[in-house]
Symmetry: C2
């Protein structure tokens, strides 16, 4: 088969330009691009990346472990990571992950990837040990206490600051009793957000009581069920006048229950989400949220992953988000 | 390194059971599973799938080409495909795809996948030819005229029947002038839905006029902009009393514009979506939709892909969906 060099000669360009075209770079003029493609076709050139991978011992493949792709927050982050990876000529695997599939995961990824991105996930301690033997870097998108212990860098927003801003906003509106709905079961990013909420409440001089912490299990339907039961348990009024949810799907579920039960938003209950997914602009009233910059984080994740692959030590990065106040608070 | 046979002997089970555990099958008792995992650990066993892949010339990898993962319709389908693929021990790549990245796509996937699933996508004719030389089967999730010509099997719902039901429902409510919003640019599945809408209108004896076909470009924000301009162009009233949108994001965009412009739903305009994503249950009023069975289609896609890999000819499959009438129609 023809080489990249022969394609370059036939097209009258440099080998670098041929590579640009193959990698879909946009810095090549259309007419040059057409000439390179024509030369490839004439010479029957087709790059075989598997061969390249055996030669360089690099796979050109990345894995992203997701928690629940049905959550637009995660799907959006994955979209931005894939886009940034494609710009760097990496293919992205993604896999839903639960601790029950840990063995399967390890057996699937070994020898197949140059890096692993945890998207709102944490692995078992033993699994980190096994992966560290492969010499494959791990990066955590969203902060996870367990990854942090293992020295795995993360990217996240500054929840401590953002939750303080959210609580200050609610205090300004007269709320002193503020509930929180989290997902206490599986995924790490909810745990981290909850810890930051608790610290922010204390820093703002507000009390934390057990009955203001709800477990909405991360999904809209579950949050609705849990909140409906909660409303039923407090026939003479809820024990708080505002609630922050650790993701937007749960905030939408709480809002739905309020509407069904005639609870006025924001008069009787103010609601805040934590991500700013598109859905929060469609509910009535529209949901106030913390804005999580998914595009910026997706791009940064790929930049950091490349550095990690070159064996550089990386510090974790914390970006700023901001509050978006709409009509639910 | 220890073999699978040695692990089986140490754990006192058959080699098949070891494979079940490695593949995360659920048909293994917890205590057996623990015994197998303990044996693997003791023997330092770690399966290397790259080696297996070189031996069998199979990669154990599938690619799914998506159009826009920011659409929960596609993210949901991808989630179900990945879940079904995992049950069959396949890893799933996914890649956003546009015709501009065709070369890059080909160079990335060659030698890397055992099958390609088009998720609401169509490739260029030339690309089908090139892939057919690799002996890698292609399956189209959603019907695409161009894939059909190349003899590529598809899975979709029966749009002809579903749109007739939708139009009959609207006729029952007194609507005879029905608009349609599609994405006329890129992706194949909108084209197919549009063709079926047009046929269904004719079959129901209703007229098709140019001004009732809008191009909402597939996304919520774009649909809102397009529909706002359309409303501005008809200050004395819209040229139709009902509209069907070829995806739910656009239906949500149209609904949003109606609310901003004081157009009563469904009194002045009835709105129908075509997928039944979660978001349609959160708008006010809730959106009437065609229900697209994403879980069923995801599972079936993997079944069909396996058959195709075993070189069996596959007929396309059309599933039934159904109408979900809520408050927007």
């Amino acid at each position: 088969m023809a080489s990249r060099q022969e394609v370059a000669e036939r097209a009258g360009v440099s080998v670098a330009v041929v590579s640009y075209v193959l990698n879909g770079k946009t810095n090549v003029k259309m007419e040059t691009r057409v000439r390179v493609l024509a030369a490839m076709k004439e010479l029957g050139y087709e790059p075989n990346l598997l061969a390249r991978s055996l030669k360089t011992k690099k796979t050109g493949q990345l894995a992203v472990l997701v928690n629940y792709l049905g959550n637009p927050f995660e799907a959006g982050l994955l979209l931005h990571i894939e886009s940034a990876a494609r710009d760097e000529s990496f293919l992205v695997f993604f896999q839903s992950y639960t601790p029950e599939t840990e063995e399967q995961l390890i057996s699937s990824l070994r020898g197949r990837v140059d890096g692993i991105i945890l998207l709102g996930q944490q692995l078992m301690t033993e699994t980190y040990d096994r992966i560290s033997e492969w010499d494959v870097p791990i990066l955590s998108v969203t902060q996870s206490p367990n990854a942090q212990e293992r020295g795995i860098p993360y990217i996240d927003v500054n929840w401590a600051v953002l939750y303080r801003q959210a609580i200050q906003h609610l205090k300004d509106k007269g709320h002193t009793s503020i509930g929180y709905m989290s997902d206490s079961q599986s995924s790490s990013y909810h745990v981290n957000r909850l810890l930051n909420f608790q610290e922010a409440m204390l820093a703002e001089g507000l009390e934390l009581q057990d009955e203001i912490l709800l477990n909405g299990e991360g999904r809209l339907e579950n949050a609705s069920e849990v909140f409906q039961r909660f409303v039923n348990n407090y026939p003479s009024g809820l024990p708080f006048s505002a609630i922050i949810c650790s993701n937007d799907l749960m905030a939408a579920g709480v809002l739905d229950v309020c509407k069904k039960n005639g609870i006025q938003i924001p008069e009787q209950l103010a609601i805040l989400g934590s991500e700013n997914i598109l859905m929060t602009t469609l509910t009535e009233p529209k949901l106030s949220v913390i804005h999580y910059p998914r595009d910026e984080i997706g791009k940064l994740a790929m930049e950091m992953m490349k550095e990690l692959m070159e064996k550089r030590q990386m510090a974790s990065r914390t970006l700023t988000g901001h509050l978006v106040i709409r009509n639910s608070s």
